[in-house]
Symmetry: C2
Subunit: 162 residues, 2 copies
């Protein structure tokens, strides 16, 4: 994939944002579905608990958009969001939801296709980096579904994102 537009595109920025925020709403419901203790401690096969996976999502989304908008590069910081309870995580999640909307409106159309060396590590067109963030969230949230099922908890429906 490169940054030159050679054909007409099929998804608008506002549609992409709507899909992403729909997924983020579903991820929020998955966080809510975990009991407090299991959110921070339950794991399968040596994987990270779901709170750690959510922390990774928070470490990518707003800092990534911030760099795309401002051009100011900071190293990736997994632990940038401090929380020790489910409610604190949900509050951080909601704050990120608002910040994503604010930063998104500041991305000029041409910027989506410009190469951004995100966190000094991921040198791709901005839209590729953003798509990676979304796919990574869906990937890890799917893992949260297995954790919930293993705990005997019915996860929210995958299509329920509105």
């Amino acid at each position: 994939m490169n940054a030159t537009v050679t054909e007409k595109e099929i998804i608008t920025p506002s549609e992409f944002l709507q899909n992403w925020q729909g997924h983020r709403l579903l991820t929020r419901r998955v966080i809510e579905a975990f009991p407090e203790k299991e959110l921070f401690e339950f794991s399968i096969g040596g994987m990270r608990p779901f709170a750690e996976l959510a922390k990774e999502m928070l470490a990518i989304a707003v800092p990534g958009l911030k760099e795309i908008v401002t051009g100011l590069q900071e190293p990736y910081e997994e632990n940038r969001t401090a929380f020790t309870t489910k409610q604190e995580l949900l509050d951080a999640w909601d704050e990120a939801t608002e910040q994503i909307n604010v930063y998104w409106q500041q991305i000029p159309l041409h910027r989506f296709r410009e190469t951004v060396n995100l966190f000094g590590q991921y040198n791709f067109p901005a839209i590729v980096n953003i798509t990676y963030a979304l796919d990574n969230e869906v990937h890890h949230r799917g893992q949260g579904y297995v954790y919930l099922r293993a705990l005997g908890i019915e996860p929210p429906a995958f299509y329920d994102r509105w």
Copy 2:
């Protein structure tokens, strides 16, 4: 989301296809990583074994594109692909890879944004239905990662899709 283009778009059809096929390559590697027996039998929390999840992906991708291209509607058929071994599943996966490329080239640009009542059930713009298929694959493949970890098997890297 609606089918009217009101702003310039950010992803081209060929880029979308490249991302999807990259994910499908990774899903193929996840299928390969399962031992034969566990692919068809291993499960956590009452969920479907990974072969069943892969069967769902196969039931959506090519039949969905076929309906988008031809306009011919058939009901969703989970069991359309018959396989009883890992190799047969991989062969079906590779056949679908080729068919997706062939059908994709036959989707006129305007068609991506037209509403398609996929399988007579999912009445959305074609690109929304296709995005759902991709997100659904990433979601279920993430679950396969947990199965592999629970089996003590290292999954392929999430970013290794080329």
